[in-house]
Symmetry: none
Subunit: 225 residues, 2 copies
């Protein structure tokens, strides 16, 4: 039986976790906390095996709370759970000493497996993040480049020359009017092109197209001045 402390500022979210964990045969919820400071206090007194930690909370956040709990030196392991698949969050959490980092859209079984692993002294990382973690340390671990670029993507291949120009323009963040101005076209023409591009690449709106342009490497992030 693994004892768990639930830390989240949303009562409904805590309830959800409690429902799941109390219906599982191997976990036992021994307490809850609504923010970081409370989490640190309760961990000291209740000594749970696993602390289920949200990041974004009023007052002390989950990262700082994790840091203090780990620094406390008890047996408690911290498993960070968050809505956002953000590298910054993950790195901060792991840097703070968390034993795991999972996303809240994980399936119940995955969460339970994560708790089990963390209680055993192992570590878990959300698969979506593991991918990027491996990519990040590719130099140390992997050999051989494995990145494909725009020209290999079937969605990009489906576009005509003019449409590719339009996609790049959209990726720059230009409005239809601006594109019309810079490419010397009528705005209605730009709309026609943009519409076709969206249909061909399967994008819902120009925002998805901007994201696609970045993912394909058509537009590169430019560090702020």
């Amino acid at each position: 039986m693994t004892s768990v402390l639930i830390v989240d500022d949303h009562p409904l979210q805590r309830l959800g976790f409690r429902m799941l964990l109390e219906n599982a045969p191997e976990t036992d919820v021994i307490g809850e906390a609504a923010h970081g400071a409370e989490a640190v206090r309760r961990t000291a007194t209740l000594r749970p095996e696993v602390v289920l930690m949200d990041i974004r909370m009023p007052g002390m956040d989950g990262i700082e709370a994790t840091r203090r709990i780990v620094a406390g030196g008890g047996r408690s392991k911290v498993l960070v759970l968050t809505t956002f698949d953000l590298d910054e969050y993950a790195h901060a959490a792991l840097r703070a000493g968390a034993s795991g980092f999972l996303l809240k859209d994980a399936r119940p079984e995955e969460l339970l497996a994560g708790i089990r692993a963390v209680a055993k002294g192992d570590a878990v990382i959300a698969p979506a993040l593991t991918r990027r973690l491996l990519d990040t340390y590719a130099d140390h671990l992997l050999t051989g480049p494995r990145g494909r670029q725009a020209e290999d993507d079937p969605r990009y291949q489906a576009l005509t020359d003019r449409e590719r120009e339009i996609l790049v323009a959209v990726g720059q963040g230009w409005s239809n009017g601006e594109i019309a101005e810079r490419l010397v076209l009528a705005e209605s023409t730009v709309k026609t092109h943009v519409g076709r591009v969206l249909a061909k690449v399967g994008a819902r709106d120009r925002i998805q197209a901007v994201i696609l342009a970045y993912d394909l490497g058509l537009t590169r992030p430019q560090p702020p001045a």
Copy 2:
């Protein structure tokens, strides 16, 4: 439905996997192979989404087979499964291009979750190994891979915690309605937040905000599936 090719030199082991995967609603075993060379051939013809690969096999082993399959450039992802929790195996497998590394003592649900993740383009590593992997690269985590440019930017600094969350959400390409749904807010509230974010960072519309999110490294380009 995820198509799977089972590679293992023990018939009984293959049967075990087949039992598990055929009783799962989301996986479909489309073939088996008893050694590396056969695995490479079958992968080329059957084009499974996921190859379940054993390491120790007579003739060509799983590492070499993985290397060839990945080099082939198909869509197939390799998930390496082994009995032995050896760092050398894991590193060799990942260096060869495997998308995952799990131990055979994993629970059925964990294996299914792993297959699901790998098929999606994510990566999985056995928790026991993740622990050691994190320890190995602890020093890299200390500084962070790309540094922290977002925190240094005055525009980002001007945002409150909630507004930063909103900026990330906008950067993901989510509509106001989707953000409201995922963060459990009213759409009007999301609009208020987005409006304030745009004003603070000096963005004309949410598209500029998406671009800013990329430039600040809040969102990273993800290679196409």
